[in-house]
Amino acid sequence: MNPVTASRRHYEDLAVGEIVDLGATTVSKEMIVTFASEFDPFPFHLDEAAAKASLLGGLASSGWQTAALTLRMLGDRFLNTIASMGGLGFSDLKWKEPVMVGDTISGTAAIASLRRSRHHPERGIVTIDLDIRNQHGEPVMTMRLANLVELRDPSVPLIEGENP
């Protein structure tokens, strides 16, 4: 048993359809410029005049920042409460609306599927649908994440086609 995660929820404790409220984060100009300076220094993430002239129509966060802030909310509300073994990746990430200075993003994480790893009986794979919206209720980002989670009891045999 991993002592770090022993008291957390494990694969067996999760259920398809569970929905986690991710709370809310307000995005300031300083946050946008700081992140963009390090990871996404396009003028439309750094400079208000350039941003106004761009497709975004104003100073907006990097899509990768929206994703990173969402990940932080997911960590605080979910991943750090389960025996997470890290992410496998994601699919269908869509940046639907820019996140502008002063916007507040919030959203939900819904467990879309659960299955056990075929090669590693001590691991389960949870897929999570993220739905992130701004303060007007408009979707700003959606994606499906895949994350590994420890089984409490890997000795339970894997049943073909099982999907608890």
Binding site: F39, F42, A67, A68, R72, G86, G89
Partner: protein, 186 residues
């Protein structure tokens, strides 16, 4: 890249350069955005199946994005140096797939490579095209760190807006009526 949509060649390979990941920056990114114990606590990380500290996948991806942006700027400079007007890169509408393969550990050097695998004019934004890019990151042992299928906007050089759209655009500039039109057509 920062070329006009028309000038982008399918399957051209763009080396984006390398990044050396230190423990300090792995922990810093983890503390800000992904504070799971194997990203922020080298001691506790030993208990994980990784056996030690690893970078958040989102960290390696964000660094890869930075390398792509730097390459775009470099291409822009190169074209200006040749006396040619560079194209315009837009924001990205999304990522089709991202697969994290081998974790990045402190001291690893990750090399990023971009290939444009497809392109087509945008259906929703006149005057812009969509680029389909594959970005691969490998470590110093040649192991695949991640594979990404990205989508990006690039501006068309030879675009002429159809009369119907030009009329519609003119109408959207009229107060009140414009707002209604934008809502209905947006």
């Amino acid at each position: 890249m920062t070329r006009w949509f028309e000038d982008i060649t399918i399957d051209e390979v763009f080396p984006l350069g390398s990044h050396h990941f230190t423990e300090a920056e792995i922990v810093r990114f983890g503390q800000l955005y992904d504070p799971q114990y194997f990203h922020v606590d080298p001691e506790a990380a030993r208990q994980s199946h990784f056996g030690g500290l690893v970078a958040s996948g989102w960290h390696t991806v964000s660094v890869g994005h930075r390398h792509m942006v730097d390459a775009l700027f470099a291409e822009e400079e190169r074209l200006r140096g040749l006396g040619r007007e560079p194209g315009v890169s837009g924001p990205s509408p999304g990522v089709n797939r991202m697969d994290f393969k081998v974790p990045v550990r402190p001291g690893d050097t990750v090399t990023y490579t971009l290939v444009v695998t497809g392109k087509r004019p945008s259906n929703s934004i006149p005057g812009w095209g969509l680029l389909f890019n594959t970005l691969e990151a490998t470590n110093q042992r040649g192991e695949l760190v991640y594979h990404a299928e990205l989508v990006d906007f690039s501006k068309l050089r030879d675009y002429k807006m159809p009369l119907r759209l030009r009329l519609l655009l003119a109408l959207t500039r009229i107060p009140v009526l414009g707002k209604v039109l934008v809502k209905r057509t947006g």
